[in-house]
């Protein structure tokens, strides 16, 4: 499926920007205020002039009034490092799920590119895949589309291993968005905790589909795990189907509660929902974009 957004939707995305609960300073100038004082446009404070300071920042009006050389200080505006971690394990292979995940990634990329943020797309499964940094500027969105279209869902999920690999390399702190179905036999908690411990602002996009939420069949069935190939012979009775639905809801609620406990943003994206509703409404309601 081609990942293309129409112009109207792109315009809507341009009005949005990714919200980070914390202010991270990137290396490049952009339009996000940082805690650093520097060469921004917003006046922040004065300080006494010292030898070597730039003459251009001396406040001559204050010198006339006070007879002292004061230097004008401005808030530094830098870019925001955004890490889009996209689950490309076999459990995401369901077309509706995988398309939804890639579209969300593409939409977030476009918002980031518009605001000159530093984007890094990191596909993961058993470990981290080949990461991609599309650069700056909204014109790079097509490279993003091409990159995402080339991705294929394969292999098992290992959130903890993948995020440990992510942490092993020195990176700027920033906003980390995990787009996944979080169906990891090893659990999702350890992986998310690693990112939180590093100091990233973590945001979880939980991709789900009808096949995940419902038992899928009744009667005698041999379920085959798409990732591990493990077999499970089950006779799905109505009672068992009901137990499954409850168990899945418990799993989703567990993830959401975990995110709430560790100050991790959480948005659930059902593959059957309209994509625009998720980006424009759910993400806003989840205070992920504004």
């Amino acid at each position: 499926m081609a990942l293309r957004f129409d112009d109207q939707f792109l315009k809507k995305l341009e009005y949005l920007h990714v919200v980070s609960k914390r202010a991270f300073a990137g290396h490049n100038r952009a339009d996000r205020l940082t805690a650093h004082r520097g060469r921004g446009l917003e006046f922040a404070d004065h300080r006494p002039y010292t030898a070597g300071d730039d003459f251009r920042h001396i406040d001559w009006k204050a010198y006339k009034r006070l007879g002292r050389l004061l230097l004008r200080l401005f808030d530094e505006e830098r870019d925001l490092p955004i890490y889009l971690m996209l689950d490309v394990s076999r459990s995401m292979a369901e077309p509706a799920k995988f398309d939804m995940a890639r579209r969300i990634a593409a939409a977030l990329c476009y918002i980031g590119l518009v605001h000159l943020d530093k984007l890094t797309i990191l596909p993961f499964g058993r470990g981290l895949g080949q990461e991609s940094a599309p650069g700056r500027g909204k014109g790079r969105i097509f490279r993003v589309f091409e990159y995402l279209e080339r991705l294929e869902a394969a292999g098992p999920t290992d959130l903890r291993g993948s995020f440990k690999e992510f942490a092993a390399r020195p990176r700027q702190l920033g906003l980390t968005v995990i787009i996944s179905d979080f169906l990891d036999p090893g659990g999702f908690e350890a992986g998310i905790k690693i990112l939180r411990t590093l100091g990233h602002d973590v945001f979880v996009v939980h991709i789900t589909s009808e096949q995940d939420r419902s038992p899928g069949a009744f009667g005698e069935v041999r379920f085959v795990d798409a990732e591990t190939g493990e077999l499970r012979e089950v006779e799905v009775t109505p009672r068992l189907a009901s137990a499954y639905t409850k168990a899945w809801q418990g799993h989703a609620a567990e993830l959401e509660n975990f995110c709430g406990r560790y100050d991790v943003g959480y948005v659930r994206a059902d593959a059957e929902q309209p994509f625009e509703d998720i980006v424009l409404k759910a993400f806003r309601q989840g205070r992920f974009v504004a």
Binding site: A93, D181, D184, P185, G216, A226, V234, L240, A247, H251
Partner: protein, 610 residues
């Protein structure tokens, strides 16, 4: 089946069942993103019950045990019987099929069931060798074979059926012969025969005799002689019920002292059903077979005789005084070759000096039929219209031995002229001194005829003392024939003493039917037809246009006395333990397999218990 084959079968069946269990038909596969949630659900559910944790193991064990049980049912294991020999060679087991083998023992099983169980053990413990099964009633009924299943089937099929004391089955090359008997019938046995005794004394009451004898009272069809023996150690009240057909004619309770023989004579009036059935009932009664006896009252109804002729007054006088005959007289013009109904068909037709154009279907007596009667002549004589020669004043000098002329005094008879007939079916039973036949008989599957070659006009027949004898003999021979192969002097005796077993009939007999009109298969050897009369009851033999009805009874004090046994002359006698019978082991294994299959089905149904 050899032991190694049996073990191989058992191991193979168990392995096959386990293999099939593990690769049993799988339900459809369904690829799902992750089995994570399902695992949680099932773990949550199954952790609650011990059953779910062991279900698969139980199911596998049940499957293997089912296979083993079925394999054991095929192998049919058994205990080694006393006196059995595993030596290579041929094994012959002979079952005593006397009726006394049907006697019930104290444990409820019959001697026969105990004998069959013993035979089964003998065969099982001799698996691998050639085996044969025989009974004293039927001879060799299965084998020699190494297939235990064939022997087993024959054992299940066989049943007591009497058997002559002198009949002993032979098997060439038999190295071990076992005879399983209760010793009720004494038999001369080879010393090498191993006798297995299933004898156990049992109290019994039985009918030891039932006969219908000619009555001296003119109004009676006969006198029934009944003999009942109490072979129990204590006195018993015996209920006796006598039926003629479906009507009960007597029901009486008699007191029988120990070892007492009760004798009763019951007059049987004329009329009524000729089938007489006697049943007895007593508290201590181990053998059921001898509680019922049958008799056929041949003279219960008069014979229906049609006399055809122009001047038959002389016969009217002869039959008027005979209550055993109901005669009808018709002119030749009124003779109908085929009566309108079967019931209108006479027992005997007498033709006086006249003959129909074709041989009659009913038994017939002819007096001096016309010389040119075509069907009484040879084909060549009939074609040329040539008469056979007559003899003037023939002399009948030698009394005949045929039942028709038996007792006829030939010397009081004067014959002026006798004709001869050349039909090949006619057999002369009385001849003149010159060889001219005076009395012919003809006995074929279609017709039964007596032809007297002289008439009353040409003899002193009506005045001769031999006339009523000849007439009575001829009518009896025609209407109440003895169709057994042997022709005894007293036909009634033959009828009275007929016992179950192999019976020889005359060659003219075409059908023999037993109780409930069941047809008995006939086997012909030369001029004799053999039939095995298996059960007591009323039988009918048909042939030569006549039918003979007779009763078959066990009625033997030797069989009814279940407290005695004949000491075996054999060197080895093995007493068969009580309670040895019962269903064969393989039946239990088959039942166990069925029960386990149901259990497996149940466990399969319960594999999800949420």
């Amino acid at each position: 089946m050899a032991a190694w084959q049996a073990w191989l079968l058992l191991a193979g069946a168990a392995a096959l069942a386990a293999g099939l269990f593990l690769i049993k038909l799988r339900p459809p596969r369904l690829l799902i993103p992750s089995i994570l949630v399902w695992t949680r659900v099932l773990n949550d559910v199954r952790q609650q019950t011990l059953w779910e944790r062991i279900r698969r193991a139980v199911s596998l064990i049940a499957t293997v045990v089912i296979a083993l049980a079925l394999a054991l049912a095929v192998v049919r294991p058994g205990r080694v019987a006393h006196g059995s020999a595993r030596a290579a060679g041929r094994l012959l087991v002979v079952l005593d099929a006397s009726w006394s083998m049907e006697a019930a023992t104290r444990r409820g099983e019959t001697r026969w069931e105990r004998a069959v169980a013993e035979a089964r053990r003998l065969f099982t413990s001799s698996s691998g060798a050639e085996m044969a099964l025989a009974t004293t009633a039927d001879g060799l009924i299965e084998g020699p074979t190494t297939d235990l299943a064939l022997i087993e089937t024959a054992l299940e099929r066989s049943q007591p059926g009497g058997g002559d004391a002198s009949a002993w089955p032979r098997l060439a090359g038999a190295t071990a012969v076992h005879f399983i008997t209760d010793g009720a019938t004494a038999r001369p046995l080879d010393p090498a025969v191993v006798v297995h005794s299933v004898f156990e004394p049992a109290p019994n009451v039985g009918i030891t005799a039932l006969e219908v004898r000619p009555s001296l009272t003119p109004g009676n069809a006969g006198d029934a002689y009944l003999e009942i023996g109490n072979f129990a150690p204590s006195a018993q009240k015996v209920r006796v019920r006598i039926n003629r057909g479906a009507a009960e004619v007597l029901s009486r309770e008699l007191d029988a002292a120990p070892s007492e023989l009760l004798r009763q004579v019951l007059p049987i009036p004329r009329g009524g059903d000729p089938a007489l059935t006697v049943r007895i009932d007593a508290p201590q009664n181990a053998l059921v077979t001898d509680d019922e006896a049958f008799a056929w009252v041949a003279r219960a109804r008069p014979l229906v005789v049609t006399v055809v002729g122009a001047q038959t007054q002389w016969l009217r006088a002869a039959f008027e005084r005979d209550p055993d005959v109901r005669a009808t007289f018709v002119d030749p013009a009124g003779y109908a070759a085929r009566p309108a109904t079967a019931s209108a068909r006479p027992d005997v037709i007498i033709f006086d000096r006249w003959a129909p154009p074709a041989a009659p279907a009913s038994p017939a007596l002819f007096f001096a039929p016309p010389a040119g009667t075509p069907w009484l002549l040879a084909q060549a004589d009939a074609a040329s219209s040539r008469s056979t020669p007559d003899e003037r004043a023939p002399k009948w000098e030698i009394p005949g031995s045929h039942p028709v002329v038996q007792g006829v005094d030939p010397f009081t008879l004067t014959v002026d002229r006798a004709r001869s007939y050349s039909a090949p079916a006619l057999v002369p039973v009385a001849q003149s001194s010159q060889g001219t036949p005076l009395v012919y008989v003809s006995e074929s599957p279609d017709t039964r005829l007596v032809v007297v070659t002289f008439s009353i006009n040409e003899s002193n027949l009506t005045a001769a003392p031999g006339f009523p004898v000849l007439l009575g003999n001829a009518v009896d021979w025609l209407a109440r024939p003895v169709l057994f192969a042997s022709q005894p002097r007293d036909a009634d005796v033959v009828h009275r003493l007929q016992r179950p077993g192999l019976t020889a009939f005359a060659g003219v007999v075409t059908t023999v039917s037993g109780p409930a009109n069941s047809e008995v298969p006939l086997t012909r050897v030369g001029q004799t037809a053999f039939a095995r009369l298996r059960v007591p009851g009323i039988y009918t033999a048909q042939g030569g246009g006549a039918r003979s009805t007779f009763a078959v009874n066990i009625s033997d004090p030797q069989l009814s006395n279940l407290s005695r046994t004949t000491p075996a002359a054999s060197g080895r006698v093995v007493t068969v333990a009580a309670g040895a019978s019962g269903a064969p082991w393989w039946v239990y294994f088959a039942v166990a397999a069925l029960v386990l299959a149901l259990a497996e089905w149940w466990t399969w149904q319960r594999r999800i218990t949420v």
